[in-house]
């Protein structure tokens, strides 16, 4: 019951945050150089006078600024994110079409990065000071310093161009007409490279954090108490050290989620993965600002939602959190 109340409060906060971000969108359009209407119409739409006039009335651009804001926010609440002249479709539809692909990519990358990151970090901490630790640390450092898009390009170069082991472009093999399990397998193959490259950077982040947290926790008094009770080292590691070290990792995962969603833009661009990130890239090229801002709002909403989930998970794992 307490948890429910707490979550409701957080959901409310999240919605307010999304509205605030929408307001930022609104202000950006006003602050951009040039006429706000041409910004909203995009490069393609600006040349169509009728479209421009339509936008002017729709957004009430001749009215006082507060009314404009209210109109804009009203549209956002009704999920009306505008119209992309270039693609001749409502922005919302374009985004919703792409959403599943991005969710699939970021979801798998997140799972991979957490799983491998925590495991490698724990291994590194367990064998602190040995060659295992040094190699994991060095590898993590290198991946932490590697730009996502470059890693993606190198992966394509090696695995697709040179070795032809894995496909490097798109969601599935075009025109193959596969269905059911065969389609899923095809998609999975296409998913490997993008998910892995997106995951590697964050794997390094979680590995470093897990290692540091575990080494910290191992110094704490209650670990000494456990040893004084004669508890076996394996259990001490699992139930005492790791259990406490995971708390900061969960918090970090929430914070990094925003980063991963942003990083998806780069990964999707390189791998031509049909997700929201790719959509943002196309919008950039086409100077379609309505679409760009709409996609931005949706990615922000995704990040907010994700933070909510990690907050919730944190209350499950840390009994000390006071919910009332």
């Amino acid at each position: 019951m307490q948890r429910l109340q707490f979550m409701l409060a957080r959901v409310l906060q999240g919605l307010v945050a999304i509205m605030l971000i929408a307001t930022v969108n609104f202000m950006l359009v006003r602050a951009a150089p040039g006429d706000p209407v041409s910004v909203l119409a995009g490069e393609a739409g600006a040349s169509d006078a009728q479209f421009v006039a339509q936008l002017r009335t729709q957004f009430g651009l001749d009215q006082p600024i507060t009314t404009q804001l209210a109109t804009y926010l009203g549209k956002v609440v009704r999920l009306d994110l505008g119209f992309s002249y270039r693609q001749q479709q409502p922005v919302l539809k374009l985004i919703l079409d792409r959403l599943p692909a991005t969710l699939l990519l970021t979801g798998s990358a997140f799972a991979l990065s957490l799983l491998f990151g925590v495991t490698l970090g724990a291994l590194s901490a367990r064998r602190a000071g040995t060659w295992v630790d040094s190699s994991i640390t060095v590898i993590a450092l290198i991946f932490y310093a590697t730009p996502l898009y470059w890693l993606a390009l190198m992966a394509v170069l090696v695995f697709t161009v040179q070795l032809a082991w894995l496909p490097g472009f798109g969601f599935s093999t075009v025109g193959s007409g596969l269905t059911g399990f065969a389609l899923a397998w095809d998609i999975a193959q296409h998913l490997v490279l993008p998910a892995l490259t997106l995951a590697l950077f964050y794997m390094a982040v979680y590995a470093r954090m897990t290692r540091a947290a575990m080494l910290d926790v191992a110094q704490m008094d209650f670990v000494k108490t456990a040893r004084a009770k004669g508890v076996k080292p394996g259990r001490i590691l699992r139930a005492h050290v790791l259990r406490n070290a995971l708390l900061p990792v969960v918090t970090l995962a929430g914070i990094q989620a925003g980063g991963m969603i942003g990083g998806a833009v780069l990964t999707e661009t390189v791998f031509a993965w049909p997700g929201i990130g790719r959509l943002m890239f196309d919008a950039l090229l086409q100077r379609d600002y309505s679409l760009l801002l709409g996609a931005f709002l949706v990615t922000a909403a995704m990040a907010v939602l994700f933070n909510l989930i990690t907050d919730f998970v944190y209350t499950l794992v840390d009994p000390r959190i006071e919910l009332t």
Binding site: A17, A145, L285, L292
Partner: protein, 280 residues
């Protein structure tokens, strides 16, 4: 050089190596126009020249016949410039807001923290893209965009340091002595908060360089500046023919960012011991 800070720093071999690489990059950046043999934008050779085939073009040429090595040298200048300046701006914003929030607490703190949280809720790279796109790419807008997405973690760190230090007895004693608020913030608290800020600053420059290169990769870089990200971006569609166009600039980024991270760790080691010999 024999101060305890340097002793601890140099004990970290990685940090020393990082420092060496970083110095090399800085020197290259500073001496850029004098060591680069060609104008990076000049189409001086045949396109798609393989590396190490022609003297004077050690790393080959790109789709338009531009010298990649010269491009990388100029790219170093822009990356370091943007990285450093945007970090300084982010630090100024973050330290100011964090110090105020941490020192005064209460409503001021709550309001500032809500404000910071909004910024942190947004995926920072996406926000940077939007900002640069809307305000048209230039060195100025890129620096501003990176600074705007980078200041929240600084503010949080400074806030938490100030919250802790504010309660310390020596600050209470300074209050009793009648020292003014600005004096207390600047002479009593801030010097004790500097260590984690310095470490964070070096990591922020690394992140800023990654951000700038990512923006340039997507085509949002300053069109008048040759940057590493732009070079990798222009290689995207011709990867099969000219793999070296993507490899070398990318390696430069990896090495520079890695060097900065290692130096950051060395700084953390070097500054970590509290002067009173006890852990905080």
């Amino acid at each position: 050089m024999k101060s305890p800070f340097w002793r601890r720093f140099t004990r970290n071999k990685g940090a020393v190596a990082g420092m060496a690489v970083l110095l090399l990059v800085v020197v290259v950046a500073l001496l850029g126009p004098w060591i680069a043999t060609n104008d990076p934008w000049g189409m001086v050779q045949q396109p798609f020249l393989h590396p190490w085939t022609e003297p004077g073009f050690a790393l080959g040429t790109d789709t338009l016949g531009r010298d990649i090595l010269s491009g990388m040298i100029y790219g170093a200048r822009i990356s370091l410039l943007i990285g450093a300046v945007s970090t300084v701006v982010a630090l100024l914003i973050g330290i100011t807001l964090g110090a105020i929030a941490g020192y005064f607490g209460g409503l001021v703190d709550a309001a500032l923290m809500r404000f910071t949280e909004i910024f942190q809720a947004v995926p920072s790279f996406a926000l940077a893209i939007v900002l640069v796109a809307i305000f048209q790419p230039s060195v100025g807008s890129i620096v501003a965009a990176i600074a705007i997405v980078s200041w929240p973690p600084v503010a949080r760190l400074v806030r938490s340091e100030f919250l802790t230090l504010r309660q310390r007895d020596f600050v209470q004693a300074a209050l009793l002595a009648g020292q003014s608020t600005p004096r207390i913030i600047l002479t009593q608290i801030l010097p004790n908060a500097m260590s984690p800020i310095i470490v964070m600053a070096s990591l922020m420059v690394a992140t800023a360089i990654l951000l700038e290169s990512s923006l340039s990769f997507l085509g949002l870089g300053d069109p008048n500046q040759m940057s590493w990200g732009y070079m990798v971006g222009s290689a995207r569609t011709v990867l099969r023919q000219a793999w070296w166009m993507a490899l070398f600039p990318g390696l430069a980024i990896v090495l520079t960012v890695l060097a900065l991270n290692l130096v950051g760790e060395g700084l953390s080691d070097g500054l970590n011991t509290r002067l009173d010999g006890r852990t905080k």
